[in-house]
């Protein structure tokens, strides 16, 4: 369990300012989404949290501890599953854990079973479908020793049906563990369905232009996506994003 606080974060590459005085917070056990158009600096934010880049200004705090520029403070799930083809599913999910401590294969097996992957524990990634691979990648991030999980458009490469299945699956697993999550996406529906709170990013230099709390109770059902309240929210966010693009 953990909280993330980003304060006054700025980053530019060459003369290009990507982020300017960004402020954001993820509370304990909260599912927060960053929604923004392509090229709005979402990936840069992740790279800064992951410690791959040094910010020009500002600090990133995890549980009150300054982690600015420090690698390995968060658990990460990338856009592509990024599984190692020579490792079995079980060996893959313990990889992130392995980087810091002795992996707990017992726990990993339990988690895979709960995630509906019991039959694939000893399979290689090449034998799995795209959706299955993403599940494996998510279980890997859950098993990481770090408590904050950063998800970088994890479902963007999947087809519409698989995507919806994956969202439901993700929610069911997440609700059991309730880790703090920072989720990056450009899909409005996905972000409303999954999140507690949505932060809409503006055009460059990126900053949070609107913050929306999602009022729906959990556990959420698929039928939610067709209710008037849901569609109303979708419309509202859509207009906010259109506003950015029309500027």
């Amino acid at each position: 369990m953990s909280t993330l606080a980003i304060k006054d974060l700025s980053k530019s590459f060459g003369g290009d300012t990507i982020l300017s005085q960004l402020e954001l917070k993820v509370n304990e056990g909260e599912f927060v989404s960053l929604l923004g158009p392509s090229g709005s600096g979402k990936s840069t934010i992740f790279h800064l949290i992951g410690g791959l880049y040094q910010p020009d200004k500002g600090i990133i705090e995890l549980d009150g501890k300054d982690i600015t520029g420090q690698k390995g403070s968060i658990s990460y799930m990338p856009q592509s599953p990024s599984l190692f083809p020579w490792r079995t599913v079980l060996e893959n999910v313990v990889l992130a854990q392995e980087l810091f401590e002795k992996p707990d294969k017992q726990k990993a097996t339990e988690m895979l079973t709960r995630a509906g992957l019991a039959d694939y524990i000893n399979s290689y990634p090449a034998q799995l479908s795209g959706g299955m691979r993403q599940r494996v990648a998510f279980v890997r991030s859950l098993l990481s020793p770090q408590s904050l999980i950063c998800l970088d458009e994890p479902f963007s490469a999947l087809d519409e049906f698989t995507r919806l299945d994956m969202q439901k699956w993700l929610l069911s697993i997440w609700e059991e563990e309730r880790p703090s999550v920072l989720f990056v996406t450009h899909n409005i529906e996905e972000t409303i369905f999954l999140s507690d709170r949505i932060l809409v990013l503006g055009a460059r230099p990126a900053n949070v232009i609107e913050e929306i709390s999602i009022p729906f109770d959990r556990p959420r059902e698929e039928s939610l996506t067709l209710t008037p309240e849901f569609l109303q929210l979708k419309k509202q966010i859509f207009h906010t994003l259109r506003g950015i693009n029309n500027d």
Partner: protein, 250 residues
Amino acid sequence: MIRKSWLPVTVILFIIIIWELSSRFFAIPDWILPAPTGIMTEALAGWADYQHHIFSTIQLTIYGFLLGVTIGLLIAIALHLMPKLREALYPLLIMSQNIPIIVLAPLLVIWFGFGLTPKLIIIVLVCFFPIAVATIDGLRQTNPELIHYMKMAGATNKQIFTKLELPHALPSIFSGLKISATYSVMGAVISEWLGANQGIGVYMTLASSSFRTDRVFVAILFIMILCMLFFAIIIGLEKLLIRWRKDENG
């Protein structure tokens, strides 16, 4: 495996039959081109006389191959971890392959005498290169997405190398090993021409200078058998170590 191999076996049998028939039909003298049956007769009859040559070559090949592979791997890893060094030394690596071995060999004898050293140098010289190049390429071609994941997950450079880059390069390393394994047999035979007191190379030189062409062919036959044997061993090791590859198309 067995079903696949009938085609090449048929081709080889066909060539041997044509060869046998034509040497009988045209009555080619044995010292120009002996018939396959003549070669086989010599191979069986002379076994006791030449077998020590073969075992000596096998031993030399193994020493040279292991040394060459070790040096090739070490060079590749060093150059991979130090890109500046790679820039500086890569052309030199390629140039090392342009030295004609036949010219170098007598020089090595002048410098190092007739012992094991010049022979090992020749084998190492022919077999470190395929390993080094294949390994460097394999390490460099590591999927950038996986490297990015490892960095975001907080992996140290050492972990990225041992857990990602090295296993990723393994199939490439094996391609290099296969080439090196066959080269090392040739390297060993060439090095024996220099002046050894035993080995297939010695047997071959003696045979050809006394117009025992049948024995030259026996030597060629054993060189081929050795090459295939080493190749098969490498393939066996590959199958043992890289199990995940089999499933890739499945």
